[in-house]
Symmetry: C2
Subunit: 142 residues, 2 copies
């Protein structure tokens, strides 16, 4: 009963692939003062509109405690707002602000350039294939 070679272990392969892909993104983000996690939060909010924290945490791949702390500082920075749910007062609805959208706009060009470079070097077709497989895998075990 022996273990798989680490480069054929899916969790490890996913992690290594992500580290590779993130390298240029980290450079971009370090020039913006925003963390990788906050970048995901505002992207999800911009894409999906105002949403509850639980849904936001799930979509941005964050745990609720981490999100709670981040939202506090992001609210102070003016990137988003939180309002108590009208129907259900336990919920808090998070919305992106214009300042938040500006951060996205300010880096959309660099972000697109990084994606385009990857697509050119890895191949558009293989990239689509990979994204399809990843999406299928994620949908697998909901």
């Amino acid at each position: 009963m022996s273990l798989r070679r680490t480069d054929r272990s899916l969790p490890i392969a996913l992690l290594r692939a992500r580290e590779t892909v993130m390298a240029p993104v980290r450079v971009m983000l370090s020039n913006s003062g925003i963390s990788e996690q906050k970048w995901r939060v505002i992207r999800v909010l911009d894409e999906s509109g105002p949403m509850e924290q639980t849904a936001l945490a799930h979509a941005a791949c964050l745990l609720l405690p981490s999100l709670t702390r981040m939202l506090r500082s992001m609210e102070e920075e003016g990137l988003l707002t939180r309002t108590v749910g009208t129907d259900d007062k336990r919920k808090s609805i998070v919305s992106i602000t214009e300042a938040g959208r500006k951060v996205l706009r300010d880096h959309a060009g660099a972000s697109a350039a990084i994606a385009a470079d990857l697509e050119a070097r890895f191949g558009a077709e293989r990239l689509e294939e990979l994204l399809d497989l990843l999406e299928a895998l994620t949908d697998q075990e909901t």
Copy 2:
């Protein structure tokens, strides 16, 4: 210049896929008292033999400062040993111990079962295809 849909963003797709795949692994590891990161370290050491910290950090996808801290506690737990390099005294060579190997053996069965379950549900062929694409992606930008 707009951003890619988050489920078509490779960094985010990789992260989401990994979260999905890791769920059962986390359950297994929580029953062992060992963290996901320490699990990677002993797997790499078992696979590749004694190695320097820089190489180990790279192979296990950890930053050196994180590794430094982890190695201290793992050494105390008896999972591995560190020796100063003979030729170059800056280097420290890390080796897995018998106790470390025992941790691997103790969970190899559960680990293989999780991998087999995934393979069965996702399909062996698609899994190989996905691993090939991930490996190609990782090799892309060395």
